[in-house]
């Protein structure tokens, strides 16, 4: 038997998702610091993802334990980023582009 719950206003969710997407595009053209743009973009993306999960996937109306199962991958990915931090703390490297910079091509 299907669980009975009040259906969300899907059209309102659509408009919210569309507005947040337009805002994202706008953010990349604003003259803000790169770090601030990155924080804004990640915040907007997580807001959109939450809207999809909570209202379109109906997670808001499910048991809390199911929500914990759903959020676990996000927590593990944050953990993975921290696990990768030691690799990131080294000297930045040239990753082998096909076009060499003028300084590199003229060096002996």
């Amino acid at each position: 038997m299907a669980q009975v719950h009040k259906q969300p206003n899907y059209i309102a969710i659509f408009w919210w998702l569309l507005a947040l997407t337009i805002l994202e595009i706008g953010v990349i053209f604003t003259p803000l610091a790169r770090v601030l743009i990155a924080i804004l973009l990640v915040g907007l993306a997580l807001s959109k993802a939450s809207l999809v999960a909570m209202y379109l996937m109906h997670l808001k109306f499910e048991l809390r334990t199911l929500g914990l199962i759903a959020i676990t991958p996000l927590l593990l990915c944050v953990l993975l980023v921290f696990a990768l931090l030691p690799d990131l703390s080294g000297t930045p490297h040239h990753t082998g582009g096909t076009s060499a910079s003028p300084a590199e091509s003229s060096s002996p």
């Binding site: 659509f14 048991l63 759903a70 996000l74 593990l76 980023v81 990131l88 582009g97």
Partner: protein, 205 residues
Amino acid sequence: MSQEAVLHPEIEPAESPLTPESWGKLGMWIFLAADAMSFGALLAGYGALRYGSTDWPHPSSVLGVGLTAFMTFLLICSSVTMVLALAGIQRGDMTGLRKFLALTILGGVSFLGMQAFEWTHLIREGLGLTSNPWGASLFGTTFFIITGFHGAHVTGGVIYLSCYLIRSLLGGLTQRHANEIEIAALYWHFVDLVWILVFTFVYLL
């Protein structure tokens, strides 16, 4: 399978504790959690490679943001048509189910067509799995693997939903099968959710 279960196949052995509607829904959630970890690992690896590189091109100046923004819009629209298809079968409106399911599939196919166009354009410009005319070659590697992995999911979703549309057209779906459509919808919304993150991390950041 126990002898009791063989004798009474219509009776489910026990109710799923987290999703009383069906065990299938719980199975789909667990599959999606595992799949999310695959995407998470790919995006974390992308971040690590990009952060460690000195010649990584700025994606929004190399990739077509306008086209991908429209692709995002298409997937959002298809997610809404998917919930409307589910609402249709839940109230017994099979015409509504077929109409919105067809629109969802159309959204998915259009998305794939645009991705094929984007890939063709970039490959002609010299971007490949091991080559990149704008800097770090790993930019091409990560771009094709992440968007390709997502594209494979969209393809899977289109096939999955097409099976239900055909079954519905043949009269094999009734209001009793709403739970199956709900499980398929979960998969489709997940594909949309992942694209929201891929769009931000690979195209905009």
